[in-house]
Symmetry: C2
Subunit: 376 residues, 2 copies
């Protein structure tokens, strides 16, 4: 990973190259062994005026003529990049693929960032009508409160827990803990969501290297195996869905992932979920099967999702604490799970960590990607 944050002294290219170089160093890999590149990034055309990102990376990492592509699925761009990389290896057409994720967001005026992020939803039926992403997730929160009695305190506890984790992560955007009081007294962005319920606008990049397992064993002492890679879609617009409190795409992707990996939620030791807003983490830990529908808020406030509690959720700090450079997030989740499975998560290490999961969402849930990983 590059250090996440408001990185005004570094550009889009610099961050990706930094993350990519670290990933290569981590597995003692020389560039000439790489035969494929996949980059997840959401809106570089709008945010930094550059498309053709696959070729950009191949060029600036000195990897021509390696085939390189960019994939996009809004905020799930990193997750789908990981899945495409996995597929490239599984197809037998590639033997060593670098998967990167990146977004450079703070060089762009706020309203333009909001407009670019709006591209994750249905522009014609949601954004054009005045909805923004905080407003869309606020509706999901309101409905969760109505149906299950979820409270603002429960949501606030998610932010507090995620900052506690990110304060122990030197790559995180926010390195400070916060209190319930700070969250509860912060201003409403879209009621009931307050400033501290929202993930920040962040710059950053992350990268991983994928190989067939037997090959990976030759490069690193602790290779991590992807035992399931699943993805599902749902309607682009929130108003078309049967439920506003469950993400059907997450449920479908999780079901497929559990079946493929032959594990259950009880087997998962660490999970990085997509907490673009605190309510999103609450819905996610329910949809992924860690808690019953409606009980995610209570579980969060009771500390069941804290480090080394019932299930360690977002040890990196999640999108809220570690930051959310959109296209980088899904890859960063994989980096965190790899560190946890290797026992290298420093002050935020999950004990006896054997099985990890990542959960990356696009828009308000139109794309969901779930990966399960194990120590090989």
């Amino acid at each position: 990973m590059s250090k996440f944050g408001e990185e005004w002294t570094r550009g889009y290219r610099d961050m990706l190259i930094e993350a990519g170089s670290r990933a290569l160093a981590d597995c003692n890999l020389h560039g000439e062994e790489i035969d494929g590149i996949v980059v997840g990034t959401m809106a570089p055309g709008s945010l930094v005026g550059q498309e053709h990102i696959g070729a950009l990376v191949a060029d600036f990492m000195g990897l021509n003529p390696v085939p390189a592509i960019r994939v996009e699925a809004a905020c799930a761009s990193g997750g789908v990049a990981l899945r495409q990389g996995y597929m490239a290896i599984a197809s037998g057409m590639h033997d060593c693929v670098v998967v990167g994720g990146v977004e450079k967001m703070t060089d762009t005026p706020g309203e333009e960032v909001a407009s670019a992020l709006g591209g994750a939803g249905d522009q014609e039926w949601e954004l054009f009508m005045g909805a923004t992403f905080p407003a869309i997730y606020a509706m999901m929160a309101r409905r969760h409160m109505l149906e299950y009695g979820t409270t603002e305190e429960q949501m606030a506890s998610v932010a507090v827990k995620n900052h506690r984790n990110s304060s122990k992560n030197k790559y995180a955007h926010f390195q400070n803990e916060i209190t319930m009081d700070t969250v509860m007294k912060s201003k409403y962005v879209a009621t009931p969501l307050k400033l501290f319920d929202c993930a920040p606008i962040t710059d950053g990049a992350a990268a991983v290297v994928l190989m067939p397992l037997e090959k990976a064993k030759k490069y690193v002492e602790q290779p991590i195996e992807i035992v399931a890679s699943a993805q599902a879609s749902d309607t682009l617009a929130l108003h078309s869905r049967a439920s506003m409190t469950s993400l059907r795409a997450t449920q479908a992707a999780a079901k497929k992932a559990y079946e493929t990996a032959k594990v259950t939620p009880k087997d998962i030791d660490v999970v990085e979920v997509h907490d673009c807003f605190t309510i999103a983490e609450i819905a996610a830990i329910e949809d992924l099967g860690f808690f019953k529908k409606g009980e995610g808020g209570k579980a969060s406030l009771e500390g069941k999702t804290a480090l080394n509690a019932e299930i360690s959720v977002n040890t990196s700090g999640g999108l809220k604490g570690c930051g959310h450079p959109v296209g980088a997030t899904g890859v960063k989740q994989a980096v965190e799970v790899v560190w946890q499975l290797r026992g290298k998560a420093e002050g935020r290490q999950v004990k006896d960590c054997e099985v990890g999961m990542t959960h990356n969402v696009g828009g308000s849930g139109a794309t969901s990607v779930v990966h399960i990983m194990k120590r090989a």
Copy 2:
């Protein structure tokens, strides 16, 4: 395919759904049998304010929760989408993938389109300095003229031939033939390239359905086999390359494709090449091995690339005649080759057509994708 052209009465979504529905009808396929979607599109964020295109397509084709992604490699977005779809089948993770390509360009003011297309090149080192894509290809043309004596008449003959082909293609943007006189008397856009040396700004979409071969035989009488799918990269900026007259990425991708398919240029009966400018077709037929370097212009003027001549190049009309809705182009090339291999190319049918090739380029050559297809 949707009908290519200036489609002011139809939106981005409409065109993709139209092409997708036709592809499904063509192979007697029901939606519930599809288990993956890949869409190639270059700049919908800049052009129509929408990202998250995979999810959009899954939603509007009624295919939720099928996993769906968007891939981008500038003007090669369609070609890389085809390759990702091929990889998805080869990985064993998918059994029936719809690959689409789309771009909606005419709803956007010209200068914004030029800026969006600029994202295909190196924004920091080329576009920001004042270069546009016609200017970049004009430099390649000037150098080709200097090194090999290529003439403006030779380039003009490419446009005349491609319009002759597109006049026989009911899906083409331009349905009219043009004369050498028309091209030679048209105004300079960037000397030596004139208006009729340039592919137009076009709206359109195209789609194909991919399955394992044995499965495909159950759905259609004439399945077409992809016998090679190859891609390569080169520097994003033209000035970083060893040659301005050859695309190294095209040469590398073609080499890999010929080796994989175990065929030579002599075996290819029909090829769709990336003629965003007439000089690009001349360089392509050289780089793909149909003519020696420097002889592409002469061969074109002598009619060797015409329908049923030495090698039938761009029977669809190519980007010049059929139109160039950027993300759709790479998929449209595959559609044309499928029609040719099935003997269904109507007035532009290549005789005894058994092996076909597609060649799709991103930017000024930073990405190149080559596919070879055969009758199964």
